[in-house]
């Protein structure tokens, strides 16, 4: 029986958790022959909001944008190397906007049928304003979602062993 997914997307956000998720997504793709996509979303929505509320000045916004674009390129390069080490073909993209909206849009536009995320927050507050982007993706994704615990050392070990 074939795996019930053919196109996997892993969301990269620069965190260690998202790199663990990337490793898991690569293992899934390798074992199922599904195609693999990795997307980093530079959160320009947050940058714009922070300038409007005067927490960032324009100069800072430009610096952060440049830093985030470099961060995106670094994490994408690293994910490509990880995929290559397991002979898994990967399509990567760096997108700018509101992360959860861009990811949902990418899922729809590319017929993604499995989203892989790094860990979601432990629920410590009922304040909706504090919902993370990963939480929003988990709640709004039009396809099934796999959440990878960033504390799961087994994934790193599995990745090394395969």
């Amino acid at each position: 029986m074939d795996a019930p997914y053919k196109r996997i997307l892993v969301y990269l956000d620069g965190s260690e958790g998202s790199m663990t998720a990337a490793m898991y997504a690569i293992l899934l793709a390798a074992s199922s022959k599904a195609s693999l996509h990795a997307v980093y979303v530079v959160n320009t929505k947050a940058l714009g909001d922070l300038v409007r509320s005067r927490i960032l000045i324009d100069q800072e916004k430009s610096e952060f944008l440049s830093d985030l674009q470099k961060d995106a390129a670094r994490h994408i390069r690293h994910t490509e190397r990880l995929a290559s080490s397991k002979d898994v073909a990967i399509t990567t993209a760096s997108i700018e906007g509101s992360p959860h909206k861009e990811i949902v849009s990418y899922i729809k536009n590319n017929d993604i049928d499995l989203l892989v995320l790094g860990s979601v927050n432990v629920i410590r507050s009922r304040r909706d304003e504090l919902t993370s982007e990963n939480d929003r993706m988990l709640r709004t994704s039009p396809c099934p979602v796999v959440v990878v615990r960033d504390s799961d050392d087994n994934i790193w070990q599995q990745f090394e062993e395969v």
């Binding site: 959160n43 509320s53 927490i55 985030l68 961060d71 927050n121 507050s125 304003e129 504090l130 993370s132």
Partner: protein
């Protein structure tokens, strides 16, 4: 690290005793320095980073909240220091500030820095929350507001 994970009861000061913006930054950074065992020279360096950033443009907002912040090279993890002052302090904005969120983030992790600033801005967009925060009498009150 998300915003809530950066909140630490030991990094909350109620009430603040600072009389002006510079003293407010010094008071908040000192709290962080005491918790993390910073050397005096390291503490001074962090204060300078924050004050230099404020010189470019005040982070005081209309609602009486200021969010001074700085990127620090080599910082292990992000930190948020919260201060509530009984007497509003001139922090360079149109309106004086009585609530302070000092954000220190590793220069190497811009995404986390933006995420924390964004979370603070969102939670402080609630007038009710800001009123409750400004009327907090103890650090436990402040802490509880985030983890209700």
């Amino acid at each position: 690290m998300a915003f809530l994970e950066a909140i630490d009861k030991d990094l909350i000061k109620v009430p603040m005793t600072a009389k002006n913006g510079k003293e407010a930054v010094e008071e908040l950074v000192s709290l962080y320095a005491a918790k993390h065992g910073l050397l005096p020279s390291e503490t001074e360096s962090v204060i300078s980073h924050v004050l230099d950033r404020e010189k470019l443009g005040s982070t005081a907002m209309e609602n009486g909240i200021a969010i001074p912040h700085a990127k620090i090279e080599g910082l292990k993890e992000s930190a948020v220091v919260i201060g509530v002052s009984r007497l509003p302090i001139d922090f360079g904005g149109d309106k004086k500030s009585s609530i302070f969120f000092l954000v220190l983030a590793p220069a190497e992790n811009p995404a986390e820095h933006i995420q924390i600033l964004s979370s603070i801005a969102k939670v402080c967009s609630s007038e009710l929350f800001v009123r409750m925060l400004s009327s907090s009498k103890t650090k436990e009150d402040v802490y509880q507001l985030f983890f209700d």
